[in-house]
Symmetry: C2
Subunit: 395 residues, 2 copies
C-alpha cells in the first residue's frame, strides 16, 4: 500500500550501511579489536582544532543567536567565502549568488537532479560510482545509465559517446572517486566536455555535468584535482565538508553553479533548485555549522594520515598477491577480487572478519572497496587475515 | 525547461520569508529600530544554558568523534530518550524502533507524506494552516484539500466530514497552531479520530493523521496539549526542537509512529519513510545536535517571555479596537483585518513599518499573523504604529 521504491530502499539500506551494521553486531559479539571493518567512509581523523575552537568561540561571543534560522540559501558571509575559495581553484568566476549552502553533497545532488529531470530523463554515471546515485536519480523520476571504465578506471570515452541519447539531461562525475580513489585526468574531463557540447548541439537542449566532489582535497601526490568548471560550461558542483574537515555527521556542504551557464537559464536553474529543496523539506543547512565553515574554510583535517594508510594497505596487499588500483585520492582502495563474484568474495572475507564492500552496487562486478579511513594499527593487524584470505585463493 | 512547480516555488519563496526579506532590506534602509518586524517565527528567547553547556562538554570529552555519521534513523540513545519522553505524555506506548530522528519537523512531514501518497491522493489540512503544507503535499504528488474553521478557529467538523473522499490518505493537524495559536480541544481531536475510523471502514484503506507539533511545549495557561496518540490509531507525529529549545536553524526533530498502527503495516510504513528520506538525500540528522538533544530533552527555553509578550500584544491591540483570537499557545497572534483583503491590509500596515503576514497563504482570507517571538520592547514601541493603522480604519 506504500510507494514500492521507497519501501524497497528503506528495507534494503545501502550495501555499505548494511555491512557496517553487520560489523557493529559482530564487534559486540567477538570484540571490537577482532573485526577489521573497512566498510564505512567515516573519517578516522578528527576535525581540525579550528572547528571545535570556533564552535566554542561562537558560543561565548554570539551564544544567543547562532541557532536561529538562516536564509534558505545560506548565510551571506558564508556564500561569499565559498565563492572566494572556488575562485582560487577555477578560471571561471563563481558568484556567491549562485551558491546554495546545503546539508552535505547528498542534498546538493538530490536537489540538482530534481531540478534537472523530467520523468523518464536519463542520467549518466561512470562506473564504478557511489550507489546512492541510482537512488537519487530514480527518486527524481530519472533513469541511471552506466558507462564502463577503461583499464585505468577512467571513463571509457567511446562507451560514453554511445550512452548519450536524446533523453540525457545530466552526467555525474566524482573525482577523486568513491569507490576507486581514481582522479579524473584533465584530458578525460576535456573529452567529456567536448562530447557534451556536441550532444547539446545535436539534441538542442542543455546537458548538465554534475560534479560530486567531497574528496577534492584528499589527494596525496601534490597534484590538485582539475576543476570541472574549467572544462565544461553547464556545470553544477556539489561539495561537502564531510571529508576535508571530518564532519560527515553534521551535514554541511554546498552546491555552486558555473557562471558559464547562460544567464537566464542559470537564474531559472538556481530558482528551481531552491524550489526542489523547499519541497524536500530543506529549510536551511545547520546554522552553527554554517558559521563554523565561514571561519574554517580552507582548513583540513590531518590528511597525511590517509596517505600513510594508503601506502601501508596498498603495499601490504600487493605483497600478498592481490591486485589493486593505486588510488590518487579519497580514502578508498579498489581491489580486484581473485574470483569473479565480488559478493561471494566479500562473504569469504567476512569469515576472516574482513569487511570489504563488494563492487556490484558500484555499477561493476569483480572488485571490493576497502575504506582506509581507519586506524593504521587496524590495517597492520588485519594483514594476517588478508594473508589467510590470499592463501585460500592460492595467491 | 525545468520542472515548473519547483521553479515557481523557488521563485515565489514563502510569503513569510518574502516579508522577512523585505524587512531586512527596510531595516538596512531606515534603521533596525524603525521597523516592527512581526514576520518570522524565529524564537527571540535564546536556547537554554544546558544546550551551549552541553555542546562544550561534548567537545571537551568526545571532541574527536561527535561529528561522524550516525545511523540514518538517529543515535540509539537519542531514540530511547525520545520514546521515554513521549511515554510520559501518552497512554499509547511508543517504541524507539519507530522513531526517526530527522532534520526538523519539515523533513518529518515531507518523508511522511512521500511515504503515504500515491499520485493524486488527497491530504486534508485545517485552515488556517502553515503554507508549506501545500508545497510538501504537492511535492509528494498529492493534492491539498482545505477545511474551514469554526468561529473559535477549531476545525469545522461538518466541513471535515464532507472533505473526506476515497482519495484521502492523510490529515494534518497542527496544535498549537501556526498561525493562530489555537490548541485543538480534546473533544475536537476525539471527533476527528471517530470520523477517520469510519472513513477507513467505508473506503477500506488506512487514513493517517499526521500531527505537526513543534509548538507543543509553548502553552501558557497550565493545560498540556492533548496528545494525538490518545485519539487515533494511525498516527504519525512530527516534532521539532526548533521552538521549545530555540534551535530552529539547527534542524533537529523527530518523527514517531504510534504503536497502535497494525504491526506489519507499521513496519512497512517505517521502512518506506526511511526509503523516502534516503531518496531525498537525508543521510542523518546533524550529529552534534543529536547528542545535545539526548542530554537536554525535557528542558525548554524561558517560555514565560512569550506569555508576557502575548498579554502585551493582545491587550494592546484589543484596546486599539482590533479583533484578535486569544492564543492558547505558540507565539502567534491571529488578528482579524478591518477590511476583507488581508494582502491590502498588510500593505497598508507596511506603510507604518508594521510587518504582518496576510492570512491568504494560510488557507483563509481576512486575517494577519503577528509573530510575537520578538523583544517585548519592540511590541511596546510598535503600539503607536498600530494606533495610526487603527485610526486609518476608523477603529
Amino acid at each position: 500500500m506504500f510507494p514500492e521504491k521507497f519501501l524497497a530502499w528503506g528495507r534494503s539500506k545501502s550495501c555499505i550501511r548494511e555491512l557496517a551494521a553487520y560489523g557493529n553486531a559482530r564487534k559486540a559479539q567477538i570484540g571490537e579489536d577482532k573485526v577489521f571493518d573497512f566498510s564505512l567512509g567515516n573519517p578516522s581523523v578528527p576535525a581540525p582544532d579550528c572547528v571545535n575552537k570556533c564552535i566554542k568561540e561562537l558560543l561565548d561571543t554570539e551564544g544567543g543567536t547562532i541557532h536561529g534560522y538562516t536564509p534558505a540559501v545560506g548565510l551571506p558571509g558564508l556564500r561569499k567565502v565559498i565563492a572566494e575559495d572556488l575562485n582560487k581553484k577555477s578560471t571561471v568566476h563563481i558568484s556567491p549568488d549562485y551558491i546554495y549552502v546545503c546539508c552535505g553533497a547528498a542534498a546538493g545532488l538530490v536537489v540538482a537532479l530534481r531540478a534537472l529531470l523530467m520523468p523518464g530523463d536519463e542520467v549518466i554515471a561512470f562506473a564504478p560510482f557511489f550507489p546512492e546515485y541510482r537512488v537519487f536519480t530514480e527518486g527524481a523520476g530519472g533513469k541511471l545509465v552506466c558507462v564502463k571504465p577503461d583499464e585505468a578506471l577512467q571513463p571509457d570515452i567511446e562507451d560514453f559517446e554511445k550512452a548519450i541519447s536524446e533523453k540525457t539531461k545530466a552526467v555525474i562525475v566524482n573525482t577523486p572517486n568513491n569507490p576507486s580513489g581514481v582522479v579524473l585526468r584533465a584530458d578525460t574531463l576535456g573529452k567529456i566536455g567536448e562530447i557534451l557540447k556536441k550532444a547539446e548541439e545535436k539534441y538542442g537542449h542543455s546537458i548538465y555535468l554534475i560534479s560530486d566532489e567531497p574528496y577534492r582535497e584528499l589527494v596525496y601526490d601534490g597534484e590538485p584535482v582539475p576543476c570541472v568548471f574549467d572544462y565544461y560550461h553547464n556545470t553544477v558542483m556539489c561539495y561537502s565538508f564531510s571529508k576535508s574537515l571530518s564532519l560527515p555527521g553534521e551535514r554541511i556542504g554546498y552546491l555552486a553553479l558555473s557562471s558559464a551557464i547562460e544567464q537566464a537559464e542559470r537564474d531559472d536553474l538556481f530558482a528551481t533548485i531552491c524550489g526542489a529543496a523547499r519541497a524536500a523539506g530543506y529549510v536551511n543547512a545547520p546554522s552553527l555549522m554554517q558559521r563554523v565553515i565561514e571561519k574554517c574554510i580552507g582548513s583540513t583535517s590531518d590528511l597525511s594520515v590517509y596517505k600513510e594508510n594508503r601506502e601501508l594497505l596498498y603495499n601490504g596487499l600487493k605483497e600478498l598477491g592481490f591486485k589493486c588500483v593505486y588510488p590518487d585520492g579519497a580514502f578508498y582502495l579498489f581491489m580486484k577480487c581473485p574470483e569473479e563474484d565480488a559478493k561471494a568474495f566479500s562473504e569469504k572475507a567476512k569469515k576472516h572478519e574482513l569487511l570489504l564492500v563488494p563492487s556490484d552496487d558500484f555499477g561493476m562486478g569483480g572488485y571490493v572497496r576497502i575504506a582506509y579511513c581507519v586506524p593504521a594499527d587496524m590495517i597492520r593487524r588485519s594483514m594476517p587475515a588478508f594473508k589467510a584470505l590470499a592463501e585460500e585463493y592460492g595467491l
